[in-house]
């Protein structure tokens, strides 16, 4: 718990969050289907649109964890 190594290790793990949206939208096997649809919009479309919010949240968390760090 003392000093340097602890926060740095946390930072490194947080970076893995950046990989999640990459996998979610770059692997069409996950989402190339029409159901379940929301309000008439097929899964293919709302899944990818949803990950726009997802990527903003992931980067926001990484930004907060690494803000001001060198």
């Amino acid at each position: 718990m003392n000093g340097e190594p602890q926060p740095r290790r946390t930072n490194r793990l947080v970076l893995l969050l950046l990989l999640v949206p990459l996998v979610a939208v770059l692997v069409p096997w996950i989402y190339n289907r029409s159901g379940p649809s929301i309000g008439g919009m097929p899964f293919f479309y709302w899944w990818q649109l949803l990950w726009i919010a997802g990527v903003a949240v992931c980067i926001g968390i990484v930004y907060r964890a690494t803000r001001g760090s060198r």
Binding site: L18, W29, G40, M41, V55, A56, C58, Y63
Partner: protein
């Protein structure tokens, strides 16, 4: 079909253009330093932009009018494959977040204004810097020209003939950018983005309401696409093309000079990083704009312009607006698209002109040029680039220009090893990087050359059919990714082999890549 001219619509577009012109000229006085006469001040706005200005600037810069008309046109024409723009603008931000932050720091610490400046300092190679500079300029020029097709789509839809509106718009744009530099598009971007957000919000609520909901839209689009052999889902053979196009376009985006300029104009490293989580708001807008293509299919929109047999599909969205909206709102939406073309065109011209002044003019023509002279060259070149773009677009066929833009990404990604890997390691030898560039570029251009499309025998797009090389498959892959992979392999193999050649001098230090803050603004 020739669309009918409407005075109210035209008046609103002209009025909006006039307001933006006044803002463009007033920008000269906005947060100005001692003098505008240098690349630092004119071309980078003094590197003083905070979170919000950077957000509007980068948003206005990366999400161009061409995107607003071409992406929905792509869904209108080919269905699900056109939606690649959404994963593209999702993955770009996690990919570049830390790269852009390092780039900002090292450039700020050493006074670099372009990617080529950085490459010269990092690898100690004038040749490599020249290759990076030329690549950036060549990839940007057709992109500037393409912004004009967005304006032209609106003009055609409004029923106005002739090329004079294009000339007029770009001459006025060139005039205020000459004086205000990067401050002009940064201020105009506020107006542009607010208008576009309003336009999209209204469009995605009002048009589905009139058409009977998203259910009706997707069914209508699906049956219209089925008639052409496409659909609202990907076919199995489209997976590889979809993924590589999204990933490759994302890797290429921040290598364009105008994206680098937007990043370097920020005030601090944190401003850059924070923006990576704020910019996806534009992607959401883009995602809904893309769906306008399906709304156009469901509403049985017929594009105008072009020839009777082959209408100009970039007019799909303007025609949709014209049929759906009352004239006054269609006018506002058209004005938004026109302004949306001016902002990125201005930034692209500034970025390419900075690159010319800093990395070609000064080292090769006038090594003794002062900051003032460098700035003036940049100002003049930005005017030439804009007027050149108009000349190209009015003289070349439209389809030709569209294909050049696809090629832009394939070309610009070839500087990735020198720039992006250069930010992290000096392991690569400068000559290995130069040869890698040459081989990667050569291969890419060859692959583009042999790519056919329905209308062209060569340069028919950036999706390379693997069957061209004898594979028994319908798979396609984004050409640039193949080129840059080969580029990297060549650079990696040659680096140990060329160890006997002298390495370039690295003028940067490891600490430079982590620098956080700009010094306070002098009073």
């Amino acid at each position: 079909m020739i669309p009918k001219f409407n005075g109210l619509e035209f008046g609103i577009v002209v009025g909006m253009f006039a307001v933006v012109t006044v803002i463009g000229f007033l920008a000269t006085r906005w947060r100005r330093g001692a003098s505008l006469a240098s690349v630092e001040e004119w071309g980078l706005g003094g590197r003083r932009f905070g979170t919000w200005v950077t957000w509007f600037l980068l948003g206005g810069d990366l999400y161009t009018a061409y995107t607003f008309v071409a992406v929905p046109a792509l869904l209108f024409g080919t269905g699900a494959a056109g939606f690649f723009a959404v994963p593209y603008t999702i993955v770009v931000f996690p990919l570049v977040m830390f790269v852009a932050a390092r780039m900002w720091s090292v450039c700020h610490e050493n006074g670099y204004a372009t990617a080529a400046d950085f490459v010269r300092g990092r690898h100690g190679s004038a040749i490599l810097a020249l290759l990076v500079a030329i690549t950036g300029i060549v990839a940007t020029m057709p992109y500037i020209a393409l912004q004009l097709t967005g304006i032209r789509a609106v003009i055609e839809t409004m029923g106005i003939g002739g090329d004079w509106p294009l000339w007029l718009a770009f001459i006025v744009l060139a005039a205020y950018t000459f004086f205000s530099g990067l401050r002009a598009p940064a201020l105009v971007a506020f107006v542009k983005d607010i208008l576009i957000y309003v336009m999209v919000l209204v469009a995605v609520i009002y048009i589905p309401y009139k058409l009977g909901g998203y259910d009706v839209i997707f069914h209508g689009a699906s049956s219209a696409l089925a008639a052409k052999g496409y659909g609202t889902l990907l076919s199995g053979s489209q997976y590889l093309g979809y993924t590589t196009l999204a990933l490759g376009s994302a890797l290429a985006l921040f290598l364009y000079p105008h994206a680098v300029t937007g990043v370097l104009a920020a005030r601090s490293r944190d401003v850059v990083k924070k923006n990576m989580s704020l910019l996806p708001a534009y992607s959401l807008m883009l995602g809904f704009i893309a769906l306008l293509g399906y709304m156009a299919l469901a509403a049985h929109v017929k594009p105008v312009g072009g020839t009777a047999a082959k209408p100009d599909t970039t007019t799909t969205v303007p025609v949709l607006f014209n049929t759906m909206f009352p004239h006054w709102f269609a006018g506002i939406a058209f004005g938004a698209i026109v302004i949306g073309a001016l902002v990125p065109a201005a930034i692209m011209a500034i970025a390419a002109a900075n690159t010319f002044a800093r990395d070609i003019y000064k080292p090769y023509f006038r090594p003794t040029a002062s900051d003032r002279e460098e700035g003036l060259v940049s100002q003049i070149v930005s005017v030439i680039l804009k007027l050149g773009a108009v000349a190209v677009i009015v003289s070349l066929k439209l389809t030709f220009a569209l294909e050049f833009q696809l090629i832009g990404g394939v070309i610009v990604i070839q500087i990735l090893p020198a720039v992006v890997l250069g930010l992290y390691t000096r392991w690569f030898h400068r000559w290995a990087l130069a040869v890698g560039w040459l081989v990667g570029m050569g291969l890419s251009v060859y692959m583009l050359y042999v790519t056919k499309s329905l209308t062209a025998n060569h340069f028919g797009g950036a999706s390379f059919a693997l069957s061209t090389w004898g594979f028994h498959t319908k798979l396609t892959i984004w050409t640039g990714l193949v080129g840059v992979a080969v580029n990297l392999i060549v650079a990696a193999v040659l680096t140990p082999l060329l160890a006997w050649l002298p390495k370039g001098r690295d003028e940067t230090t490891p600490d430079d890549y982590l620098e956080a803050e700009a010094p306070p603004i002098p009073a």
